[in-house]
């Protein structure tokens, strides 16, 4: 394992500290754990919290700030945070308007967030949650845990965060978050595995001509291993899976071409060149495109494509101001 770190045990905490020290006037870390909250708590709005394992930087701490999250909880790398950590985050940001947690659909995340929300309710804090499940690689069926939550989560933070900032009610913020979830789809791939610091070696091995299609964001293998293809062919495969899932034709979309952490921007731009052409060809109008590392798997090389089908409300909220380390509008 070759990493620029100090000690495996300290990775999560030092990372959160480093993030907070990059914007000390805007962010602070709770003493009790790896929780990032706004330096100046804003009252009179629904507090939005996200979180999950670490290793997805800049998610989620990087999205704390005006217009997006009020707090983010970071578990160990790729491990859901514990209920008491989440509970501390909820307590720190809770307002009279309540707290909405944005949870990605993983068994662990859901269980830990549910337990934390129960704890909060016991203390009369109004708290609720939504579950993001944008990953079309995994079939959503009664017989599975359903689709994973991946890069589309950022758009939930953005849009629900913008509505929360206006002072909307918990029910309204939850409703718009669920609208985003209903309209956002993602699919990803990787050409290299990543190495969890505590594991010390890559999660899987790929030959020089192989790639994993349908990966999540936890360094796990994808739904299938295939021969490496051209950027255009790969993008085509992912895009077709996405547009087959819900109907985007004639609609406006927000696009994320998301790097998994170790992908050079050069390659993401090359992918976007195809994505833009594909969408134009299909009669899908691009409202806005984000290209970069938004939801990563440590240093994995690969990318995901996210499409959010927008309506007027979502467009307005998408465009609203945001001032966070990882996303500014």
């Amino acid at each position: 394992m070759k990493k620029i770190i100090n000690a495996v045990e300290n990775v999560e905490e030092e990372m959160i500290l480093g993030l907070v020290k990059s914007a000390p006037e805007k962010l602070r870390k709770l003493e009790c754990g790896n929780v990032v909250v706004r330096a100046h708590k804003k009252e009179g709005k629904v507090a939005l919290i996200s979180g999950g394992g670490s290793g997805h930087e800049p998610a989620h701490g990087g999205y704390v700030g005006e217009g997006m999250l009020d707090g983010a909880v970071a578990g160990a790398v790729f491990t859901s945070p514990t209920p008491d950590q989440i509970y501390e985050a909820i307590k720190a940001v809770a307002t009279d308007k309540g707290v909405l947690c944005v949870v990605k659909n993983y068994t662990g995340d859901i269980m830990n967030f549910e337990m934390a929300i129960d704890m909060a309710k016991d203390e009369d804090i109004k708290a609720d949650y939504v579950v993001v499940n944008d990953d079309v690689a995994v079939k959503d069926s009664l017989y599975t845990t359903g689709r994973r939550g991946v890069a589309g989560t950022i758009l939930v933070h953005k849009i629900a965060g913008a509505l929360a900032e206006t002072g909307a009610s918990l029910e309204e913020v939850k409703a718009v978050a669920e609208k985003v979830i209903a309209n956002v789809r993602t699919m990803g791939m990787a050409i290299t595995a990543c190495t969890m610091p505590a594991a010390g070696k890559p999660g899987f091995e790929l030959a020089d001509n192989e790639m994993e299609i349908g990966i999540g964001i936890h360094g796990e293998p994808g739904t299938s291993r295939e021969d490496l293809k051209s950027a255009n062919d790969i993008a085509n495969e992912l895009l077709n899976k996405i547009v087959d899932d819900i109907d985007y034709v004639g609609k406006e979309v927000a696009v994320i071409v998301n790097g998994m952490g170790g992908t050079p921007l050069m390659e993401l731009y090359i992918v976007n060149n195809y994505v833009a052409d594909f969408l134009a060809e299909k009669g899908i109008k691009v409202y806005d495109t984000m290209v970069g590392n938004y939801m990563t798997s440590i240093e994995m090389a690969g990318f995901s494509i996210t499409l959010l089908r927008l309506d007027d409300e979502m467009k307005k909220l998408y465009d609203a101001e945001a001032d966070t380390p990882a996303l500014k509008k």
Partner: protein, 207 residues
């Protein structure tokens, strides 16, 4: 009979076993999911081990509940809430007991399974810890029902758990992270079922 002192000994031995098998559990998790099961379980049980001295003299219900709460607040992931809830539920039904017998063990295990199912919404055959724990529970219950002693009953539970672990190799995961790789999970052994087996093995060694 398992006394409260014995319970401390067993919990310590579980912590040791998990620490010892940490890399192997992580390895198993790596093959089908995110490779953190060993590390996280070890973190949790080390935290439990650290609290054992302060539990001395307390009742078994308290010990199990403290273990559960400690797991919940240190393990994270899926295993944290699942094992945590299991121990907490078992603790609730063992409240005030300074020693427990075979039928208590069944009551405790039943509560634990209830907790896991309530939290994880899974059932057997989904390639999870339940595929070790449920058969172990059934075997133990039958054995005690047949009037066999606790040691024999736990021995049968271990056999059943071991068979359950083997069974997980043959099936596809439909719960937990391993479910995302679909058919590719077949052929691999479930890490959670494996850590459960260790707990039954340790129990057997200490009674």
């Amino acid at each position: 009979m398992i006394t409260n002192d014995k319970t401390i000994e067993i919990l310590k031995a579980i912590a040791d076993r998990i620490e010892e098998q940490k890399d192997y559990l992580t390895e198993l998790d790596n093959e089908i999911a995110d490779g953190d099961h060993g590390v996280n379980m070890a973190k949790g049980f080390n935290a439990v081990a650290a609290k054992l001295p302060s539990m001395a003299g307390k009742d078994i219900g308290f010990m199990l509940k403290t273990t559960g709460m400690t797991l919940v607040s240190t393990v994270g992931g899926s295993a944290g809430p699942l094992y945590g809830t299991a121990f907490m539920k078992a603790g609730a039904v063992m409240k005030d007991k300074m020693e427990i017998d075979g039928s208590d063990l069944i009551t405790a295990l039943e509560a634990a399974i209830g907790g896991i199912k309530m939290r994880g919404k899974a059932t057997t055959g989904e390639k999870t810890m339940l595929d070790a724990i449920c058969p172990a529970y059934d075997a133990m219950k039958a054995s005690i029902g047949d009037g066999e002693d606790m040691k024999t009953a736990v021995g049968k539970a271990v056999e059943a758990a071991r068979a359950g672990v083997e069974y997980t190799k043959t099936i596809k995961a439909t719960k937990g992270r391993a479910s995302y790789i679909g058919d590719r999970s077949i052929g691999h052994q479930d890490p959670g079922a494996t850590s459960s087996l260790y707990m039954f093995e340790v129990l057997l060694e200490h009674i």
